[in-house]
Amino acid sequence: MMKKKQDILHLLVLLAISFLSLSLIIKLRYSTWLQIKVVFILTLSYLIWSFVYHLHNKSLTKNIMIEYILTAALTLVIIMGLVI
C-alpha cells in the first residue's frame, strides 16, 4: 500500500514537470531557442527523476539507466535537428 502511494507520488511529480514544460513550450512557440532550453531542462529533470524513482524502488540497473539516457539523447538529437 505504502509502495503504491509512493509510486503515485513519483508519477505525479513526473506529470507536473511534463505539464509545466508543455505549457512553457506552447507559451514560447515563437522562440525556438527558448523552447529548446525548456526541452533540455525537461530532459535533465527526466533523467534525475528516473534515477531517484528506480533508486527508491530498488530497481536501478545499468540497463535501465542506459535506456533512459538513450531516450533522452534521442529527444535531444531530434530537437537539435530542427535548428538549421
Partner: protein
C-alpha cells in the same frame, strides 16, 4: 528472429519489442546524428541545395505592420525608397559577408546602410528575420518579441523600408527579411538607432558626413540553385514519425503486459511517453524562422 517480436513483447520471455529496445534507441540516435552530419556536409559541398522555399512579399509585410500599428491607434508608416534601398543593401551584405547579426563582421553598422542610402534620419530602427515560410509568420514572430514589437509599434517612425532577399547563408538557401524604420523629424538631440535586440545606439553627428554613399549592387543577381531538400521539414517529419512509432509501441507493450499479467523489471513507459509527448509538442508548435 520473428517479425512479430519487432513490434510486441516476446510471448515467452516477455522481452520488449525489438523496436523499443535500448539497441534500437541507440540505432535511432546514431541515424539522427548521421542525418545532421549529412546535411552539414551537403551544405558545404553543394551550397544552396538545402534550404527552404519562402513566399514572403514585401508589400504584405508593410500592410501587416500598418495593420498592427492601426490596432494600437498609431498612424501608418509610409514606404520610403531610400529605406528600401538600405534594407536591400543590408541583406546583400549579410549574404556577402555570411553573417546573421545587426553588425557585420567587417564593422558595418545598421546606420551605415541607412546613411549610405541617403536617408538622413534622426531616429531609426532595424528588425531582421530569416527562414520564415510566409509574411504573416514573420510579423507574428516580431509581434511576439517585446523588443521587435517596440520597434514595430514605435510612434516616432514615419517611414519604412523592407527587403526580402534570397541567397545562400552558411551553405543553405535562405530568405532574409530586413525591416528598417525611420524618421527625419527631430525627435531627440542626437540621432538614435533602435536595433531589434533592444539596444538603442546614439549615432554621432560626424558619422552622417563621414559615411560613404552606398550604391546598390550593380552586378547581375546571382543564380540561386533550386532547393532540393528542406532539412527542417525532413527532420520534423522523421522526428515526429519516430516519436509516434515509439509511443505506439510503448502503449502496445503496456497493454499486452497487463493482459498477460506479468511483471517485468524495466524502465518506466509513462516517463518515456511524457518526455516524447513534450518533444512532439515542441516540434509541432516550433518555427524554423529566426528573428533578430
Amino acid at each position: 528472429m520473428k517479425l512479430a517480436n519487432f513490434f510486441i513483447p516476446h510471448k515467452d520471455t516477455h522481452k520488449k519489442a525489438h523496436l523499443i529496445s535500448w539497441e534500437a534507441l541507440f540505432f535511432y540516435v546514431f541515424i539522427f546524428i548521421l542525418l545532421q552530419v549529412g546535411f552539414s556536409v551537403l551544405g558545404y559541398v553543394k551550397p544552396g541545395i538545402l534550404g527552404i522555399e519562402s513566399s514572403i512579399n514585401q508589400q504584405k509585410i508593410i500592410e501587416l505592420t500598418n495593420s498592427e500599428r492601426a490596432k494600437k491607434g498609431m498612424p501608418p508608416v509610409k514606404e520610403n525608397s531610400a529605406l528600401d534601398q538600405a534594407a536591400k543593401l543590408k541583406a546583400e551584405n549579410m549574404f556577402s559577408e555570411n553573417y546573421w547579426a545587426h553588425f557585420a563582421p567587417s564593422g558595418k553598422t545598421p546606420w551605415d546602410f541607412i546613411i549610405g542610402s541617403g536617408y538622413k534620419f534622426t531616429f531609426a530602427g532595424e528588425n531582421l528575420a530569416k527562414n520564415f515560410y510566409t509574411s504573416d509568420d514573420v510579423v507574428v514572430a516580431w509581434m511576439n518579441s517585446s523588443t521587435h514589437r517596440d520597434n514595430l509599434l514605435n510612434s516616432k517612425y514615419e517611414d519604412i523600408g523592407i527587403a526580402v532577399v534570397e541567397g545562400v547563408l552558411n551553405g543553405q538557401k535562405t530568405t532574409l527579411i530586413v525591416q528598417m524604420f525611420g524618421t527625419t523629424n527631430v525627435v531627440s538631440p542626437t540621432a538614435v538607432v533602435n536595433v531589434g535586440n533592444g539596444d538603442k545606439i546614439s549615432v554621432k553627428a560626424e558619422e552622417f558626413s563621414s559615411k560613404p554613399q552606398l550604391v546598390a549592387s550593380a552586378q547581375s543577381p546571382k543564380i540561386i540553385p533550386q532547393v532540393l531538400i528542406d532539412p527542417y521539414q525532413v527532420s520534423k517529419g522523421l522526428g515526429l514519425g519516430l516519436l509516434a512509432v515509439i509511443g505506439t509501441l510503448l502503449t502496445i507493450d503496456l497493454i499486452i503486459l497487463r493482459k498477460r499479467g506479468v511483471f517485468r523489471l524495466a524502465s518506466h513507459h509513462v516517463a518515456h511517453m511524457a518526455l516524447m509527448s513534450v518533444t512532439a509538442a515542441t516540434i509541432l508548435s516550433g518555427h524554423i524562422g529566426e528573428i533578430l
